[in-house]
């Protein structure tokens, strides 16, 4: 395996400054500070590496950073999104716990490249252990003169602090996160204006995922070409896949983008008990499910999954074997989005409730034949009608389950029981 974000994992105490420095940690920062590398050069390197956002949307990181470089006086911020809450996703937690210094180095470089004055690492409230690891690492970095005023005597000042959430999936959405960071409830903001223009405290801000930021030092160390060629054109580098569900060896696998699903499944020990594969959600529970026939022929990268009718999302690969009741699976997923809708937009607040109630009644043998079309209709009416993408996150699973497994829902309604088990 090629480790980028998990490159300290072989050590007993991978989170220490010594462990990180022993794999070349902070060398890139030292070089940049010494050479005063032009910001454009760093940003171009990320563009050439084809690094795309690891938080779910896959937006090219270099392009995102270039929105920030327009001259603007005063405070500018870079914020790390460590809210990781999309069901199935558990990759950032391990970067925070096992390689916090690499995230910190990535953030300082991001701050430098975008001309930011400060940064915050917003960590979800439930992350007790990860928070402690990041906080300790940050104190070590400060003591070593790597963060703060006049970093490594370069004249560059960059303040970096941790911040904490308190239990709300919506705060992973970047503008809700900014409101939360301001001490408010996590309601997403209207866009435009985008955070690059009006972000934290009304100042230009860039929000990036943990894995995105932690990839930066390695890209700049080994070069854009190296990173790009790990993956595929337009899908550069490695990606951490959280493989969970019905596999023998669930876990986080950091492997090149474009790995065939078949190989990834093998890495994760194959389907449990030698069972037959039924379906896979390839990118966290909000992404469209794919039946076994399709996913077995698909490569795991942004573009291939899009072509196959789903999305890479957070690369949380949820594996379901032949014993899985698809109605029950969707009921579980739809309940989450109902619970976590922030309630700001009517289509999402009301629609997620309707979706869950209808799926719940089908699961409990009280479904009606017209429910199937109604589910699709309600989902369609949420999509595109909300301030943030939680609406889509709730609607897409419904659309895809109905597209690929409609018969199973119909069976449930007709026979008042599961097709399986």
């Amino acid at each position: 395996m090629t480790n980028v974000c998990y490159r300290t994992l072989q050590f007993d105490e991978p989170w220490t400054l010594e462990a990180y420095e022993s794999v070349g940690g902070y060398q890139v920062l030292r070089r940049i500070m010494q050479e005063k590398t032009p910001c454009d050069q760093i940003i171009n390197e990320l563009k050439e590496a084809s690094l795309r956002g690891r938080g779910g949307a896959g937006f090219p990181t270099g392009v995102k950073w270039s929105f920030m470089t327009s001259a603007s006086q005063g405070a500018k911020y870079v914020v790390c999104n460590a809210d990781e809450s999309e069901p199935g996703t558990c990759k950032d937690r391990d970067i925070l716990r096992y390689n916090p210094h690499q995230l910190i180095e990535g953030m300082i470089i991001a701050g430098y490249a975008m001309g930011c004055t400060s940064g915050y690492i917003y960590i979800r409230g439930e992350f007790t252990e990860p928070f402690a690891r990041v906080e300790t690492a940050l104190q070590q970095a400060k003591a070593a003169g790597l963060v703060g005023s006049n970093i490594l005597e370069s004249g560059f000042d960059f303040q970096l602090e941790t911040a904490i959430g308190a239990g709300a999936y919506i705060c992973g959405e970047e503008t809700a996160l900014l409101n939360s960071l301001e001490g408010k409830k996590g309601f997403p903001r209207f866009k435009p204006p985008f955070p690059a223009n009006v972000g934290l405290y009304g100042r230009p801000t860039t929000v990036n995922n943990v894995e995105t930021l932690a990839s930066v030092p390695v890209i700049l160390e080994k070069g854009a070409k190296w990173f790009l060629e790990l993956g595929k054109p337009n899908n550069g580098g490695t990606k951490i896949f959280s493989v969970t569900g019905h596999v023998n060896k669930p876990g986080n696998y950091e492997v090149p983008l474009g790995i065939p699903f078949k190989e990834l499944l093998e890495l994760a020990g194959g389907v449990r008990n030698g069972n037959k594969l039924k379906a896979v959600i390839p990118g966290g529970s909000s992404m469209p499910v794919l039946p076994a026939e399709i996913i077995m022929e698909t490569d795991m990268d942004y573009d291939s999954l899009m072509k196959a009718g789903s999305m890479l999302g957070t690369a949380a690969v949820i594996v379901m074997d032949e014993t899985t009741c698809m109605v029950k699976a969707l009921e579980c997923i739809s309940k989450f989005y109902m619970e976590e809708s922030c309630g700001q937009c009517t289509p999402c607040r009301e629609g997620t409730g309707w979706l869950h109630r209808v799926i719940h009644r089908i699961e409990n043998g009280q479904g009606k034949p017209e429910d199937l079309d109604n589910l699709v209709r309600v989902a369609k009416n949420i999509e595109g009608r909300t301030i943030c993408a939680l609406g889509e996150a709730a609607a897409w699973p419904v659309g895809a389950f109905m597209k690929h497994f409609r018969d199973e829902f119909a069976y449930h309604i007709q026979h008042k029981k599961c097709l399986v088990g």
Binding site: C90, E126, A166, G183, K184, F336
Partner: protein, 163 residues
Amino acid sequence: MAETELYKLTETMCGEIDQWIAKFPPERKQSALLASLHIVQKETGWLSTAQLNAVADYLGLAYVTVYEVATFYSMYDLQPVGRHKVHLCNNISCMLNGSEKLSEHVKAKLGVEFGATTTDGKFTLKHAECLAACAGAPAAQIDGVHYENLTPEKIDKILDNLD
């Protein structure tokens, strides 16, 4: 408000809150609100109105601002809770790996439904949303600590060891 007089933040709390205030620009004390509520909640496991008001006064915020935040986030308890908080994840990866059976087991063991506290005031049982521990499903958070790959036997041991 009469209630605020009933509660005074301790010196330790104020010290910890001050450290959080220092992380943000001076005119942005509100940014320390979420952390402040966590700090005060450590005392009894939940937040009373008097405590919310005390935090509001300390940060110079309107009471309603603090109520709005305290009611929005799931980690704040605004009703008395048991000495130990047991939060079981029932999201998709955990569900696929037997979280329902585990939930039934814990409900029977403690004799309470989700959202309730045992009569002896020892445990409050709740659902957790995905804890980002999905590769260790089924997962739970108990008193702020993650537990993974749980089985009925394993969680019995954990719960039996709490006083």
